[in-house]
Assembly symmetry: C2
Homo-oligomer: 404 residues x 2
């Protein structure tokens, strides 16, 4: 008997038929003698519908009230899923995030999980109930309803798994695992049997949408074995796990891409301490996340700074940079939203030399220009023209023989 946490996303609970199918899947695992906690998202599309509704009423809805509104989506899912299980003769009980003991920070709409009080879930498990928990939500210590960052249901599931010391956390999604590259772009991607937490983190942050970064961080921190599986078939998924030595034998684990990138370049700023701080402090205050930053020195003690933000943040970031640019005596500020990022990820990069050169070479062969480069210990990213993305990913995938 194992204690299993399963998480199902919005497409898995989008209508009555899907909910009944999920119930059957849960029962199959339960009947093997396992204890089950199931975390679910809002029905697909509902969160977007509610956001639209809110904006019909208020241009900038208060974040607290947005959370009150959005939390109804998952609450609908948990009630319906519990009903579907009962209809098939199994006793189930649903809990909202607050009821499940999920304590979060007070940052509405972007709350972070602080702690899980597992008592209520455990009590129901001991009674033999299947426990259904609303993902994506929790409560502050003052009992205000909060929602996590989008995709936060993954994080809820892993945090609960950690809190109740589950044997495994299974994330059911519409893909059946983590691939060496996006199957919609690359002809011959390969599904990975295992991937390390760090690799998964870099994959997630560089564009692979299969798992939410914070969920992987939790899994790493609390050492929760994490499976990514399809909710539509029985294929074995990908296990996200602790790094083991043999993982370094593989040069790179995968190629990712992210088209939601825009580049801002500020020319002719003083090449002296404090310049970067002035720019990025203002950007940070506006709660805009900056991804890559590259600084290069020009002539006459002037520097050029380029950085990327998400396309949705471009307009606001540009306004800020133009203003700061004036103060700094910048000669020019340029923006380009026709860019994208391609990255390679793998713990093998630590021990294999020449990885960067091979990536650059494969891009050069395709006559693709590299606009910015950024590296981490196990990742290498390049900003390129967004029209070149598909060719770039395929070329790199081929170069490293990832189909094998």
């Amino acid at each position: 008997m194992a204690l299993i946490v399963q998480k199902y996303g919005g497409t898995s609970v989008k209508d009555s038929e899907r909910i009944k199918a999920v119930a059957q899947r849960i029962i199959k695992t339960k009947e093997k003698g396992n204890q089950m906690v199931v975390v679910v998202s809002a029905p697909a599309g509902m969160t977007d519908d509610l956001i639209r509704l809110a904006h019909e009423i208020c241009d900038t809805p208060p974040a607290r009230e947005m959370d009150m509104l959005l939390a109804t989506g998952e609450q609908r899912s948990i009630a319906l899923l519990a009903m579907a299980l009962c209809a098939q003769g199994h006793s189930a009980i649903s809990f909202t995030g607050p009821q499940a003991g999920i304590l979060t920070t007070k940052t509405h709409t972007k709350a972070r999980i602080l702690n899980i009080d597992p008592d209520r879930i455990k009590t129901e498990l001991e009674k033999g109930n299947i426990v259904i928990v609303a993902g994506f939500q929790g409560a502050t210590e003052d009992d205000a309803i909060t929602t996590l960052d989008r995709g936060g249901s993954d994080t809820s599931a892993v945090a609960i798994a950690a809190g109740i010391k589950a044997d495994v956390c299974e994330i059911y999604t519409d893909v059946d695992g983590v691939y060496t590259a996006d199957p919609r772009i690359v002809k011959n991607p390969k599904k990975l049997d295992t991937i390390s937490h760090d690799e998964m983190l870099e994959m997630a942050s560089s564009g692979a949408k299969v798992l939410h970064s914070r969920a992987v961080e939790f899994a790493k921190k609390y050492d929760v074995p994490l499976y990514v599986l399809s909710s539509f078939n029985e294929n074995p998924g990908t296990l996200v796990t602790k790094e083991v030595e043999s993982m370094e034998d593989v040069v790179i684990r995968g190629v990712t891409h992210d088209k939601n990138q825009a580049k801002i370049t500020i020319f002719g700023v003083p090449d002296k301490p404090g310049t970067a701080f002035k720019i990025f402090n203002k950007i940070g205050e506006a709660e805009i996340n900056v991804d890559m930053i590259v600084q290069s020195i020009g002539k006459d003690d002037k520097a050029t700074i380029s950085f990327t933000v998400s396309k949705t943040d471009l307009r606001q970031a540009l306004e800020i940079v133009k203003e700061v640019g004036k103060e700094l005596g910048s000669s020019e500020v340029l923006a380009d939203e026709k860019v994208a990022k391609v990255s390679i990820v793998g713990v093998g990069m630590r021990s294999h030399s020449g990885v960067a050169a091979r990536m650059f070479q494969s891009l050069a062969r395709e006559n693709i220009n590299i606009q910015m480069i950024s590296t981490s210990e196990i990742k290498l990213s390049c900003i390129i023209d967004e029209n070149d993305v598909e060719r770039a990913v395929q070329a790199i995938h081929d170069e490293f023989n990832l189909s094998e």
Copy 2:
């Protein structure tokens, strides 16, 4: 400065435009210097939609999960209304029933309010916030979400008004007060300026849908002045209040009718102690509410018992009665669902004689046959053919000169 509780029903919050209009109404009262608590229902139609959805998934959904599901309706309304108030520059904060401190019994889908903890609402009022509370819901002492009987948002509003010692509770609805009879049936009804709690209770229980009985009970018990007003115009409404002596000057306050009635008659049962108990005990166990009961003695120590239930309960009640009838040696069981109830209500009935005779006479003049009669201190009800209802109500309304 007054402390005012307002309650808006589902039609008042059914879409963005209506919600904005309600927000303006609230602001108008707030700007006169009042403190405001606003109780809202789910958007019109949403509760029915959710019930339909639940039945797609489960024939008999567990009541606890039904409450989890239904509670999302009001939660949507409170969030959107708080947003609409913020959009117009007013600070508002929403609370679900559980957050607002509404403690209920554990009878899911039909819970009763036990207590209100007013602290959280009061704290927000002191900060100058408009407090928006989800009607129709609360929590058990074990922190499970419950919903009240349908129409329970009225009860939530009055209970909160009692809990925070509000100066007045205003129920906004789609009619602009309590009338001497249903304006859709009677040509010349009169809106009542005031009505006593007891009269309102009898009106509500005999078919006037304007206020939920339990809300009136609360208002009576805690002496909360209760106004019924239209949310679509500025007309003065009806004040439901303590009985004062002058109310007895009026012979009757109003005429009500209820078409949701069905009659069951069981012939030839033993005219001895325990017979009625045997029948109504079984009916009660099936949670079927019986309205009127009339027993008459036939010959040979046999009795005939007639009673009414709601049309929706007829089939089930009939099955039970046929079974009990066999045990009791009944000669025949008949059912009639083509019946309706007309009632007159008024504290004046206590001091005016001949009221019943005048009612019977007005029906006789219209050649309407009376099938059953039931009386209380301030009410008199007759079961008649449902096709006669409109003529009956108009005739009685005329007889007592209620248009004046």
